[in-house]
């Protein structure tokens, strides 16, 4: 009796503490919404207004009036989608080859791939920019998409998964039926790799959407900006129109939240498993 009572108290305490943490997690989003739905005069009031106002649509309208942000949203969608598709394709064909086939120098090549993990990107930032300038790619989307079109992380992840998920019998059967490497990839491996591809896809999309440093460096032309760069400039330029800036941040964050919620459960499980499993 006493023990269960203590247990119940602990359970309540735990929930209260956890909900307090959740409140801190969520609060900046709420505050963004409050500011995005009020006038800029409201924001400067003291004491501050803590509840949402009625100017949300008006502020969003102001954001869309600034052509920059509408165009940059389209740019971001384009870059993020193309990058994700390319990463999924290039990473998965390489992962499938590494996981299920043997060829000369395979192990050496795989070790090289793992070593590239450890190179920090800052080291090559300046030369990468110079290379882009020489290619005539500064200000173009190739500069964002091409260097990130395939990565070691994804190949490693998909290879580990493919080793278990794609059975040798199925591949043999496909080979006997006359399937070459590419048909085995498309008809056997891709369907079996779907959960891992979904995780890598969400992960890649979110990262491409959020990327700031490289687009800031390489996209100089205002017409070619991504959402994150446009947002930071909106913040600098219209320092006084805070409600409009907040409406802009709202628009930058919502698509990510939607993508995350679509695969949240599986995504979190896979992420944790990747870090912990021995």
């Amino acid at each position: 009796m006493n023990a269960t009572a203590t247990q119940r108290v602990w359970s309540v305490v735990t929930h209260v503490l956890l909900l307090f943490g959740v409140a801190i997690s969520i609060f900046p989003f709420y505050w963004m919404f409050v500011m995005a739905s009020r006038t800029t005069e409201d924001i400067f009031k003291f004491p501050p207004e803590l509840l949402p106002g009625t100017h949300l649509l008006e502020n969003i309208g102001k954001v869309f009036d600034s052509v920059n942000l509408l165009g940059s949203t389209a740019n971001t969608i384009f870059v993020a989608v193309v990058t994700t598709v390319l990463v999924l394709f290039f990473d998965s064909i390489a992962a499938f080859a590494f996981a299920k086939f043997d060829f000369p120098a395979k192990n050496l090549l795989f070790v090289v791939l793992l070593v590239t993990f450890m190179i920090p990107s800052q080291l090559s930032t300046v030369p990468s920019f110079v290379i882009m300038a020489n290619f005539g790619w500064v200000g173009s989307f190739q500069a964002l998409i091409v260097p990130g079109a395939v990565n070691a992380f994804g190949i490693f992840l998909l290879r580990q998964y493919a080793q278990g998920a794609v059975s040798a019998e199925l591949l043999d059967a496909a080979r006997i039926d006359g399937c070459n490497f590419w048909r085995q990839y498309w008809h056997v491996a891709v369907p079996l790799l779907r959960p891992a591809l979904a995780f890598l896809g969400i992960f890649t999309f979110i990262n491409a959407w959020n990327d700031y440093f490289w687009p800031l460096v390489v996209l100089i032309d205002p017409g070619r900006q991504t959402l994150q760069v446009a947002l930071s400039q909106l913040n600098g330029l219209y320092n006084t129109d805070y409600s409009m800036v907040m409406a802009g941040t709202l628009l930058a964050v919502i698509p990510l939240i939607i993508v995350f919620f679509l695969g949240a459960r599986q995504f979190l499980a896979d992420l944790a498993a990747g870090a912990v499993k021995q």
Partner: protein, 323 residues
């Protein structure tokens, strides 16, 4: 690194090697296909990864503004770097911000994971709620935190005023800027680390907890005597990843206080300083030298962290959490 297995794949069939093994039997066209499949990575890595590293070493010995001719200056960029007060300042800033963000962040993450690991209702809803900060745009978050920490109309100062406390010029004072940046890091990464810890906790056998309960251990003792020591490999993982992340801090200070790092460069981090020198001041050679300086610091600091966490664990005490 090769021993981690991301994602839970179905069990592997032992006779899998049947289809691999002997590559002499493969046709030429199949070998060609296999190399074609893996080649995109190596081609892109050669152009955008390997070549730039050699090039950046070359650039660091040159004086170059990106347009005119390069001028070989030997070690002058490195000598200048070592005597550049703002370079050192941005290193100190980076470490201060790392210190005041990482320790609270990992501690809170551990506590949250510990609570979520109890038989508790709504665990997956909690996990999602705690992870959301991690998937949001850092630029957006920096703008929102900028408004919360704003000197004049910020929510935080309004709250302090409401409590009849002195307000703080958050974005004008050395520690104010760092606290604001650290707050963003903590907010963004605590949930992420909690999810990682939770997965580690679920791998700890429940018998250990039951035995501790039988022995009359309280929650505090269970946490520091069982949970923390057994989580050591995962704590090491999170310390190393947050070290690498912390050394690369850029977006938060850049959006919050601008390219120069704000008043007195108090918010300038190592990467922000690299960006400012290379892409704002067009000192490409100097930017490349800073890149190498940063690389050396990152390696050294990661090694020190690794030794600290390992060493603390080997002494079998609870110091692991302190590293």
């Amino acid at each position: 690194m090769a021993t981690t297995t991301p994602l839970t794949a179905p069990a592997q069939a032992p006779e899998e090697r049947r289809s691999t093994g002997n590559h002499a039997g493969r046709s030429k066209s199949e070998l060609l296909s296999l190399y074609a499949a893996i080649s995109p990575f190596y081609i892109l890595f050669a152009i955008f990864g390997l070549f730039p590293i050699g090039f950046s070493l070359y650039l660091s010995f040159q004086n170059w503004n990106g347009i005119g001719a390069m001028r070989f200056v030997g070690l002058a960029q490195y000598q200048f770097m070592l005597s550049d007060p703002i370079f050192w300042k941005s290193i100190v800033n980076t470490f201060q911000i790392w210190f005041i963000s990482t320790i609270p962040m990992l501690f809170f993450a551990l506590v949250i994971a510990f609570m979520l690991n109890q038989q508790i209702r709504g665990r997956s809803a909690y996990r999602i709620a705690y992870f959301i900060p991690n998937v949001t745009s850092i630029v957006a978050i920096a703008i929102i935190f900028g408004s919360i920490f704003s000197n004049n109309f910020g929510l935080l100062n309004a709250a302090l005023e409401g409590l009849h406390l002195d307000t703080v010029e958050w974005l004008n004072t050395p520690w104010g800027i760092k606290v604001a940046i650290a707050a963003m890091v903590i907010w963004r990464w605590t949930g992420y680390n909690a999810i990682i810890y939770l997965a580690g906790l679920q791998a700890i056998p429940t018998e250990l907890y039951e035995a501790a309960k039988v022995d009359g251990a309280n929650l505090w003792q269970v946490f520091f005597r069982i949970t923390v020591p057994l989580l050591r490999p995962i704590i090491l993982f999170t310390v190393i990843t947050s070290t690498i992340g912390g050394m690369q801090l850029f977006t938060e200070p850049q959006v919050l206080v601008g390219n120069g790092g704000g008043p007195g460069s108090e918010g300038s981090t190592m990467v922000l300083y690299l960006y400012q020198q290379a892409f704002i001041n067009n000192q490409f050679g100097y930017g490349a030298a800073i890149g190498w300086g940063l690389f050396v610091i990152m390696i050294l600091f990661s090694l020190i962290n690794w030794r600290l966490v390992q060493g603390a664990g080997n002494r079998g005490s609870r110091k692991g959490v302190r590293a």
